[in-house]
């Protein structure tokens, strides 16, 4: 058990347990709002995929499944590492925690790099909606709609990843150099929750974007 005395308790709380449970609950509520934030875009996706199934299938085949698949693996691994980091924090293993956080953040950066390459490729191929958009498809208009949604959802997701990477790096430094989370691992746990959530979003995005109709 960590040394409870070392946890600073804010004045509105009675004890460490209350403080910790409140923070965790707050984070989960935040995640619920995030689900609905992405939910709005998922509704757009569902409605249009239902309306233009063949255009979506065709457009989806223009996405780079190798990149998407690798990225899924990268995020899943980073989530696993993050889980170990949270564990290290609760065991007060400061160096291990710092290290694991660095690994997590690096995997996040790797994800962003791969995503960036993919974006660059797509811009070259004129798959960024707008004036320059061009696609060899039977129904270019609705393929463009697909790509609009694709850019939107992956973009918002990438924004979340970026925020996560920044936070994780920051926390990693604080763990390594300051030992900031000794007996006080709640922030790391919350960070972990956030990161896992970002991972879950991708787990759903991946098949919806890259694999609508790969078998034909």
């Amino acid at each position: 058990m960590p040394d409870v005395l070392a946890v600073p308790i804010e004045h509105q709380f009675d004890d460490a347990t209350q403080q910790r449970e409140a923070a965790t609950m707050g984070m989960w509520l935040f995640i619920a709002t995030e689900i609905l934030l992405f939910g709005g875009m998922f509704l757009g996706y569902t409605a249009y995929r239902h309306a233009y199934p063949s255009a979506f299938a065709e457009a989806s085949r223009h996405t780079l499944i190798a990149f998407g698949g690798t990225n899924t693996a990268v995020l899943l691994i980073s989530s696993t590492v993050m889980a170990f980091a949270v564990r290290a924090a609760s065991q007060n293993r400061r160096k291990l925690l710092g290290l694991l956080l660095f690994v997590t953040a690096s995997l996040g950066v790797l994800f962003l790099v791969i995503k960036g390459l993919e974006y660059a490729h797509e811009i070259n191929e004129h798959l960024l909606p707008g004036r320059a958009f061009h696609i060899d498809a039977a129904d270019p208009q609705h393929a463009e709609l697909f790509f609009y949604i694709y850019w939107l959802m992956t973009g918002v997701h990438a924004l979340h990843v970026t925020i996560g990477v920044v936070l994780i790096t920051f926390f990693a430094f604080r763990a390594w150099f300051r030992d900031a989370f000794r007996n006080h691992d709640t922030p790391i746990e919350l960070l972990g929750l956030y990161w896992h959530f970002v991972d879950i979003v991708w787990v759903f995005l991946f098949p919806l974007i890259y694999m609508i109709d790969r078998h034909s």
Partner: protein, 552 residues
């Protein structure tokens, strides 16, 4: 007033700590405060400001509508006025009103906590709110926006004039303030209740704030993403609502109303909560059907998410979806009915006093009932086809939002004013203004029901001459209403200095907030209270007995 009636409330101990108002006098101590009570005051000042901005827009609209020609302002200006009015009143006044002012002040006090769970986040919410407000004011000053508060695409994303993106950004930012507030309240209510304060011992106000927070947390992000999509479409010319791309303008409406219908319950539930405090106190009665009212509150919050499509009956949404949304709208009305009946029944065998807060509460019940019942007209498919987007709708929601929620807010403000400031307001003047508001309100908005059924469309600065008479009535009413609203502002400010000192519990009310001094110290309670009984332990017979014995 005697203290003998305070059976429920233990005697407050003499004050040893400074009140929260005296705890630091500098501007800095206010702007950097994390005290929920001070943050409540910050909100109170801000939303009052916004109310008068929205009210000024309403005043100009009503003046324009005196004549059918559209001669006071141009159509374009008028369109900007109702947009400003709607946006400011909804997002910068009514949604924050009771939750952020009374909610912030009272939630910790009512549950016996020292503060909310995340005080810094609470202050951040206010800054987000003000930043959002700054964007909104910026877009108003630099030329306004003419989309209506509903921002329907493709008008807003392609054709509209003005700073739509700035306005949307303002709402977006303020929205995150709301989310943070809601999150804070939910965690606070779950985790910070005093020992013994079980869920079914909570005051009804807490139940309503809890449910409201749930809606804030689950609905607002959808608004955020919807406005983002609209703004992106406007900025880059491509987007998912654009019919030229095969997009569906109705998708915007689905997303918008998925937020905005639940949001109307954000704008009424807290008012219901206030009324549920006021009626038992001034009738000296236990609340009738406490558990049912609590369940009804949660039911309104949850079912409220199922009915948004009733704003889209004639939008070319599928008629079958229309039917689903219609029947669900009727269903969501049932819990409201339960509440109205229970409030009425609470009066039975009470010992009723008619002080200002009670007048507001009774006004609320009457006007909410009318507003709600006319909501049923709108939920009725065939009737809505005729009255959709007419003044009938305008009258419906002003009856609920102004007649209901604003009355509830004013009632609550008067009721807890002594707790907030330590001073009593002048009772006679307050009663007078309550009656003025009630009369002015009905004169303003009742004629609009008739106008609506006659077919006068909303958002019309120029209208057919046969509608003029009723519009003149309405404008006349609005001027009375304006007087009614300026009065409280004046005498409440006056009372800060010259009002009678209130004492901890001027209404002999139950509830933990009345057990501490007025105004409360920064930490709220000398010692964490322990709760041993349910709310509203009032006794009408004892109150009468005392009256007979010659006290009070």
């Amino acid at each position: 007033m005697t203290t003998a009636t305070l059976q429920a409330a233990p005697q407050p101990r003499p004050l040893t700590k400074p009140t929260y108002l005296a705890d630091g006098k500098t501007i800095r101590s206010w702007l950097l405060t994390t005290d929920h009570k001070r943050i409540a005051i910050l909100y109170m000042i801000s939303i009052t400001l916004f109310f008068f901005i929205g009210g000024a827009a309403a005043t100009m609209m009503r003046l324009e509508l005196l004549t059918p020609q559209g001669d006071l302002v141009t159509s374009e200006t008028y369109n900007k006025l109702f947009t400003i009015h709607g946006v400011v009143m909804v997002w910068f006044f009514l949604i924050p009103s009771i939750p952020t002012v009374l909610g912030n002040f009272l939630v910790p006090l009512m549950i016996g906590a020292r503060d909310v769970a995340f005080p810094k986040l609470n202050l951040a919410s206010w800054y987000l709110f003000m930043a959002g407000g700054a964007f909104a004011v910026f877009s108003i000053i630099t030329g306004g926006v003419d989309t209506g508060w509903t921002f329907y695409t493709p008008y807003s994303s392609t054709y509209a004039n003005g700073h739509v993106i700035a306005m949307a950004t303002g709402i977006f930012i303020a929205g995150f303030g709301s989310i943070a507030t809601g999150l804070n309240f939910i965690v606070t209510i779950h985790k910070m209740r005093a020992p013994g304060l079980t869920w079914f011992r909570l005051p009804m106000f807490i139940w309503t704030i809890y449910t409201t927070s749930l809606i804030l947390v689950l609905a607002t992000p959808v608004l955020a993403i919807t406005l983002t999509l609209m703004a992106l479409e406007r900025a880059f010319g491509v987007g998912i609502f654009n019919p030229a791309m095969g997009g569906d303008p109705l998708l915007f409406q689905h997303l918008f109303w998925f937020y905005s219908h639940p949001a109307v319950y954000i704008m009424i539930l807290p008012g219901m909560g206030v009324v549920s405090e006021l009626i038992p106190c001034f009738a000296r009665k236990q609340m009738f059907g406490y558990r049912f009212v609590a369940y009804a509150t949660v039911a309104i919050g949850v079912f409220g998410f199922l009915v948004w499509g009733h704003h889209m009956f004639v939008s070319s949404q599928s008629i079958y979806a229309g039917m689903i949304f219609s029947i669900l709208s009727f269903a969501v009305s049932v819990p409201s009915a339960i509440k109205v009946f229970n409030w009425t029944a609470t009066l039975y065998k009470g010992s009723i006093r008619f002080q200002t807060p009670m007048l507001y509460a009774l006004g609320f019940v009457g006007l909410f009932t009318i507003g709600g019942l006319t909501g049923l007209f709108l939920a009725c498919l065939a009737v809505d086809v005729h009255v959709h987007d007419t003044y009938f709708v305008i009258a419906h929601f002003h009856y609920i939002m102004v007649g209901g929620m604003v009355m509830g807010y004013l009632g609550g403000l008067h009721f807890w004013w002594p707790k907030i400031t330590g001073r009593l307001y002048p009772e006679r003047l307050a009663k007078l203004s309550a009656v003025t508001i009630f009369l002015g309100f009905n004169l303003t908005f009742f004629p609009q029901f008739i106008l609506g059924y006659l077919g006068m469309p909303r958002r019309y600065p120029v209208y057919a001459p046969e509608f003029q008479v009723l519009n003149v009535f309405s404008t006349a009413g609005a001027s009375i209403l304006a007087v009614g609203y300026v009065l409280p502002l004046a005498y409440l400010l006056w009372s800060l200095r010259w009002g009678r000192v209130a004492g901890p519990n001027p209404w002999q009310a139950t509830g933990l907030e009345w057990t501490t001094s007025s105004p409360p110290p920064t930490d709220n309670f000398e010692k964490t209270p322990i709760v041993t009984e349910g709310p509203y332990a009032y006794d009408a017979q004892a109150a009468e007995a005392e009256l007979e014995a010659g006290h009070a």
